[in-house]
Amino acid sequence: MLEKIRALDIERFVALLLGVFAIAELTQAMQLSIYEEFTLGPGAMPLIYGVGLLIFAVLLGLTASPKEKAPPERPDEKMDEPGRNYRAGIVTFSLLILFVVLIFFIGFLPSLIIFSFLHLCLVMRLSLLKAAVFSLLWGGGLYYAFDHLLEVQLEPGLLFG
């Protein structure tokens, strides 16, 4: 039952989100010309696509039903169920945001190490020592590969820049 309600809610949530997005983009598209000499103007296709998105978002919102939920893309893949490890997903996504914010302040190398360490400790439940050793090796190795071997100028961060 809980699963059905959750599936219903996520479908309606996605429908609402995309519906609002479609309306916002339509207001922008309407400011562009839709016709040019012998062909369509720059606003024509965004207008058509925006209307299409809005129609299907409304249809999804109206027809959302847990019964209609698509089968998983891979047969071995399990559908979300209550009791699954939502904590792991939420923590991972939060750490990902923290990772990107940290890059801005302290640059790639420390951020890579901190993200790897926190994820291995908090989500994968590795021992502190194992997590620290792997994070240092992996973070350092990846930074070296990109910064020195591939010569990609990785962000040094506000603090060290």
């Binding site: 996605v14 299409g52 299907f56 891979r74 893949e77 979300d80 945001i97 990772f99």
Partner: protein, 500 residues
């Protein structure tokens, strides 16, 4: 003869040591992706896509295609030894592969899968080689209206033949199409839907979108929904166990060829793919067997047929991809994106405009199949070891490569934030059962479709009649219409059958 000389030129390019190294790396990574439950080939290609950005197109495509067909081989190892399919196309292998491992014949199951995959994969490539030249000649007649029709067909096929209901598929398609219009208009130069942001003038990047939707979203989804995992393989496998006995080979060789033939033709159909091919092959072998009741208890034909079929299907999927630019699955949709990013538009003119890349890629698949045969016989113990140690650190590895890889494309944190947004969207899509493939293909082909449409209208002085006076356009639109109405026709026919 022309086909042989083109293929010969492709093999000549493959003598480049760097290409051979990348082919090995791609097939090895593909096998590893197949071995590790959770990460699929589409996610792996998406994650590694930024690393190939800016490199020689053939080098990049050889490694990315290697991941795709390598995953078909790798999925077998966990199916046989742990009863956990590493990839959807290997689900059916668990039916007889795992019982074989429990009987102490895991090595034979892995051996027959490797040899069957090699034979069928090579068969599929021979068919691909045979149809590529005639289709490319036919495609020389294509102009903007035909290109537009091909793209409409691709959108309709990917949406109407994807799993799930049509509303969700078209929702994803229209979102992708709308996002493809963001940025500078290719015809007039006007900026569209940017909300005044200079970062959006170049549009929504394909790489951040695909890495977020397929790479990071899949990692998060798998962390939330972990696969049941048997920690210890039922049997220790040594290299010599993988070599087949003559009796086993004789029993399975027919199934290998049948699976190869069936798999190729199923693989050509968009939306069908390797998974359906493997299930159909299993059903066929069971029907042809004198002892169908023994299937599910460790019949070697039950491993040989499906494993051959899924490999041949992955070769078949390259036919619509290379000749028409139509993807059959989410993995080939990501591959099409890779082609476009590398400056190659897959489709009618690819065989003539980029013949060296096309035939180099086809030749690399022959070479890759030989490499995979060797890897899957000699490196099985290594893959089992990696399976044990790799699972805990895989999410961190993937997440770090996603962030650093996306940043490295333009040295831009903006692209990284776009990836984070698409990660959230990708997870929401997965949870709501909305397929990501239509969005990805729309994002890749949306701009070209719009350009072709507007060019066609200029040619016809603004008349849409141009699409209905050209025979190829009419045929392509008719097929698109059939695809669109096929679910309704099928339901109606079923209803009539039930009524009778």
């Amino acid at each position: 003869m022309q086909m042989l000389s083109l293929l010969g030129a492709g093999f000549e390019r493959m003598w480049d040591p760097w290409l051979l190294v990348m082919c090995f790396a791609g097939t090895f990574a593909g096998t590893l992706v197949g071995v590790l439950p959770g990460l699929g080939p589409s996610a792996a290609i998406a994650v590694l896509l930024p690393l190939t950005y800016g490199s020689d197109p053939l080098v990049a495509l050889v490694s990315l295609a290697g991941i795709y067909y390598g995953a078909m081989y790798g999925g077998t190892i966990t199916s046989v030894l742990l009863n956990v399919p590493g990839e959807s196309a290997s689900v059916v292998t668990t039916y007889d592969g795992y019982p074989m491992a429990r009987q102490g014949r895991g090595g034979a199951a892995l051996g027959v899968a490797a040899i069957g995959s090699f034979i069928a994969g090579t068969m599929g490539l021979i068919f691909l080689t045979l149809v590529a030249v005639p289709l490319s000649k036919f495609a020389l007649d294509f102009g903007p209206p035909e290109y537009f029709a091909v793209m409409i067909l691709a959108f309709v096929m990917v949406s109407s033949l994807a799993r799930g209901n049509l509303i969700k598929c078209f929702l994803a398609l229209f979102l992708g199409l709308l996002l493809s219009t963001v940025g500078q208009d290719v015809v007039s130069g006007a900026t569209r839907l940017t909300w005044g942001s200079t970062d959006l003038v170049d549009g929504v990047g394909f790489i951040p979108a695909v890495v977020g939707m397929f790479g990071m979203a899949e990692v998060i989804h798998d962390l939330i929904n972990p696969s049941e995992f048997v920690e210890t393989p039922t049997q220790k496998i040594r290299v010599r166990d993988v070599f087949l006995t003559w009796a086993d080979f004789r029993r399975s060789v027919g199934a290998m060829f049948r699976g190869g033939l069936l798999g190729f033709f199923v693989g050509i159909l968009p939306g069908a793919g390797a998974t359906i091919a493997s299930f159909l092959s299993y059903g066929l072998e069971r029907r042809l067997s004198k002892t169908p009741e023994k299937f599910g208890t460790g019949m070697i034909e039950g491993v040989a047929g499906p494993e051959s079929a899924n490999n041949s299907a992955s070769s078949g999927a390259f036919v619509p991809l290379l000749t028409l630019g139509i993807p059959g699955s989410s993995t080939t949709a990501v591959l099409i994106g890779a082609f476009v990013l590398l400056g190659i538009q897959p489709g009618p003119r690819m065989m003539t405009e980029h013949a060296d890349v096309t035939w180099g890629l086809i030749a690399s698949m022959y070479v890759g199949n030989v490499m995979l045969l060797a890897q899957n016989i000699l490196l099985v113990p290594l893959f089992i070891w990696l399976l044990r140690v790799g699972r805990q650190v895989m999410p961190v590895i993937v997440a770090c490569i996603c962030v650093v890889g996306v940043y490295s494309i333009d040295n831009s944190m903006w692209e990284v934030w776009i990836m984070v947004i698409f990660t959230a969207l990708g997870y929401a899509f997965k949870s709501a059962g909305i397929p990501a493939a239509p969005l990805v293909i729309a994002l890749v082909l949306g701009q070209s479709a719009e350009y072709s449409l507007r060019q066609s209208l200029v040619i016809s002085m603004g008349s849409p009649g141009i699409f209905f006076t050209r025979p190829i356009c009419i045929v392509l639109f008719a097929i698109a219409l059939l695809c669109l109405t096929w679910p309704l026709i099928r339901d109606r026919m079923r209803g009539l059958e039930e009524a009778e």
